[in-house]
């Protein structure tokens, strides 16, 4: 277990940022849609917004082919997820924002991939 840091490395307050589902229209919204990586036709059709300095909307990904291995964390068609909440240092938050901006992946995908690569 990594030791706790002695104190915050920065005293800068976390700046506001848009909600993760800012670009999801309420008609298309479902709680699952904000955490999954799968695009829906509706999000692909959603109105394009001018570029911003914040994390861009999730980029569409190819739909999973039937031959691909199914995620075993599923019950029927619904993926099982659990809430995860912790405080992070501002520079880690910045790294996550940078990673999502550069890769187009969701925050969840960035974090899950990093954990799997390091500890999986």
């Amino acid at each position: 277990m990594t030791p706790k840091p002695e104190r915050p490395t920065s005293l800068a307050r976390r700046a506001p940022r848009p909600a993760p589902d800012e670009n999801v229209d309420p008609v298309d919204y479902s709680p699952q849609a904000t955490t999954g990586d799968e695009p829906t036709p509706a999000t692909q059709r959603s109105e394009k917004l001018p570029p911003t300095t914040h994390k861009p909307a999730e980029q569409p990904r190819p739909k999973r082919r039937p031959s691909e291995k199914k995620n075993h964390n599923t019950v029927g068609k619904r993926e099982i997820t659990v809430p995860f909440s912790t405080r992070l240092t501002p520079e880690v938050v910045q790294l996550i924002d940078q990673a999502t901006a550069e890769t187009g992946m969701s925050q969840r995908a960035v974090v899950e991939n990093a954990i799997r690569e390091t500890w999986g």
Binding site: R14, A15, P16, P18, A19, D21, L49, T53, S85
Partner: protein, 256 residues
């Protein structure tokens, strides 16, 4: 700092007119005021003709992120109507918050007020029977003002809203949490005061029976709809004087 929510479970009963009026009157009197547009319809935002400082930095950012301490101060946009009046805008995507109930999400709006430089916060609530947005307003507020028109729908909206507030208080008691929300009264807006129809007279009597009806009744004037189209304050026009006078008297009763 007083936090006042304007609420009804019916739409189109002058919630936004009341919220914007109370906020602007207080600001023009020298108070530092923040108006929060909590309705995904963003009626207050459109009336004040303001945009978020950056895309997505509206009330949805507060409600959609964990730990938004102090974000109200960062997100609030200064109005053209008064340097003392700022707005936390709303947007269509705020409606997404009605479909999920993240843990402790109802405290995010209140959390965002930490460090807010304001004497008064006025929340323009959506017309909902409870729900996450209403719960956020109830958790953040110490005062509730009900808005009504003199109609059966208007009275229904107040009855439903009071029921929601009562249920909120009961739930707070059950968990031993403080509930200091005070019902300041009912504002009857957009009232035809010259010739009142029988249904309107009946509704007026029903509201009087609650012992919470605030006077004077706010008169109906076309100027209000006109200024909402152009993004102006009706108090800056002669035709708006009767409405301004009524809301000013009401503000003296509900604003501490």
């Amino acid at each position: 700092m007083q936090t006042l929510m304007v609420y009804s479970e019916t739409g189109g009963v002058t919630k936004t007119t009341t919220a914007v009026s109370l906020a602007t009157i207080a600001a023009r009197q020298g108070m530092s005021v923040v108006l929060v547009d909590l309705d995904p319809r963003a009626a207050s935002t459109k009336w004040l003709n303001l945009q978020p400082k950056e895309e997505g930095l509206h009330v949805g950012a507060i409600l959609g992120n964990e730990n938004p301490e102090g974000w109200a101060e960062d997100i609030a946009v200064t109005s053209y109507w008064s340097p003392n009046l700022r707005l936390i805008p709303s947007g269509r995507s705020v409606s997404n918050r009605e479909a999920d109930r993240a843990d402790q999400s109802e405290v995010r709006l209140r959390t965002s007020f930490q460090g807010l430089n304001a004497d008064l916060v006025v929340i323009d609530c959506p017309n909902r029977q409870g729900g996450p947005l209403t719960l956020s307003a109830l958790t953040a507020s110490d005062t509730v003002v009900y808005a009504a028109k003199l109609s059966a729908d208007g009275v229904d909206g107040v009855v439903g809203a009071r029921r929601t507030v009562d249920q909120f208080r009961l739930n707070r008691e059950r968990i031993g949490a403080p509930s200091n929300i005070n019902e300041a009264g009912i504002v009857a807006g957009s009232t035809k005061t010259t010739i009142m129809s029988r249904p309107a007279a009946t509704s007026l009597e029903e509201l009087r029976e609650t012992k919470m009806l605030l006077l004077p009744l706010v008169p109906e004037r076309a100027i209000v709809a006109e200024v909402r189209q152009v993004g102006d304050w009706y108090g800056d026009y002669q035709k708006g004087e009767p409405v301004l006078e009524a809301y000013t008297e009401i503000a003296e009763q509900v604003i501490q």
